[in-house]
């Protein structure tokens, strides 16, 4: 009788277990919508608001934004890492300038961005260390866990000079991402940044569309011939 009840219970439980199976994000993805394409409103990313920095950090940010705006108007590079052949780091990497690949295993999920071969590694079901327990780096330390169909990733330990939109931050900055499928081929990454430098958390999202069959290419920043002078102007080094 007990055996029968257990069997019945197991049978009832099985479909429920299957229903909450973790989705597989493995594969190649591109930012959605691509330029020139109108986003399906169901999948459109949220706009990126300005960070609500505390007053003592806001002046620095505003100075930077002014320079950034002037340079963009002149068509000059923003002076970000790329100009110097240095990768984005987190959280900029998730803007997905080029396609990205997700490689998913139960214990570890890697995300590689084609630009600069950048790879971040997410260790599953581990506790996030305190920020001062890790050496600051471009991608920091990331841990993940599943909440139903949503992959929740927490990251800390980002170097102070690795910034997103020139926004100053402390080494204690924490990035929390909630990554889930909005449709079988649409992935959403909702990003929340918390830091002592901020009045309140900074939240925005990106959407990605699956690129079936696309294989990421190698990207080694091998020969940067663009030289930025002191005024921020760029010149091309001519071979001969």
């Amino acid at each position: 009788m007990i055996a029968k009840a257990l069997l019945l219970g197991a049978c009832l439980l099985a479909p429920a277990t299957a229903a909450i199976a973790e989705p597989d994000f493995s594969g190649s993805w591109e930012r959605y919508p691509p330029m020139g394409e109108k986003a399906d409103p169901r999948y459109a990313p949220s706009p990126i608001p300005d960070p609500q920095l505390k007053p003592q950090y806001r002046a620095e940010w505003e100075r930077g934004q002014k320079i950034l705006k002037e340079r963009l108007e002149e068509g000059q590079p923003a002076g970000d890492n790329y100009v110097h052949c240095i990768p984005d780091g987190m959280p900029s990497m998730m803007m997905g300038m080029f396609p990205m690949e997700v490689f998913q295993r139960a214990k570890q999920i890697n995300i590689t961005q084609e630009a600069f071969n950048q790879t971040r590694r997410i260790y599953m079901n581990e506790t996030l260390p305190r920020w001062d327990e890790v050496d600051p780096s471009f991608y920091g330390r990331s841990v993940g866990h599943w909440e139903g169909d949503t992959l929740v990733v927490e990251t800390t330990g980002i170097k102070a000079n690795v910034t997103f939109r020139w926004t100053p931050h402390s080494e204690a900055m924490k990035i929390t991402e909630r990554i889930r499928l909005l449709a079988p081929d649409i992935l959403q990454d909702q990003i929340t940044i918390e830091d002592d430098y901020l009045e309140k958390p900074w939240t925005y999202s990106y959407s990605f569309r699956r690129m079936k069959g696309y294989r990421l290419q190698e990207y080694v920043c091998e020969d940067n011939r663009e030289v930025v002078d002191e005024d921020g102007k760029t010149h091309l080094k001519i071979d001969r």
Partner: protein, 137 residues
């Protein structure tokens, strides 16, 4: 139409590159004069398939047997590859015609806008916001 098809092929990489403002601005296109173009014709001396940019070196005919060397910047191999290029699309010794936005500082070089291969096929390097570069030559 073949040319139209190639433009479509390039629509994807252009779009990918222009997704975010930082992407459009991460390398300078301001050093090129986008208000005019020049057209050169000559021998390819090197085609360098590298990041962050590919480069095409051309000895351009200047008439009366003279030539002038030009260095042309292209986009990046991954974008070009998604647009149909390979590292062997053009090779040293090929005689090509190139339309380019010249460097503002007067050095002999520029940003490649259109390349005509020895077989007459025109190919684009997938410049982000290509419509902002006037072809006047």
């Amino acid at each position: 139409m073949r040319f139209a098809r190639e433009i479509r092929l390039f629509a994807l990489p252009c779009a990918v590159a222009a997704l975010a403002i930082p992407a459009a601005a991460h390398h300078s296109f301001a050093m090129f004069d986008n208000t005019r173009s020049i057209t050169i014709h000559g021998n390819v001396t090197a085609f360098q398939w590298t990041n962050p940019h590919a480069y095409l070196e051309i000895d351009a005919d200047e008439g009366k047997g003279a030539s002038k060397h030009y260095t042309l910047e292209l986009t990046s191999p991954n974008m070009m590859s998604r647009g149909g290029w390979t590292s062997r699309t053009v090779k040293p010794g090929d005689v090509v015609t190139a339309v380019l936005s010249p460097l503002r500082d007067g050095q002999p070089g520029g940003l490649l806008l259109v390349l005509t291969l020895p077989n007459g096929k025109k190919i684009l390097p997938g410049v982000p916001h290509a419509d902002r570069y006037k072809i006047t030559s």
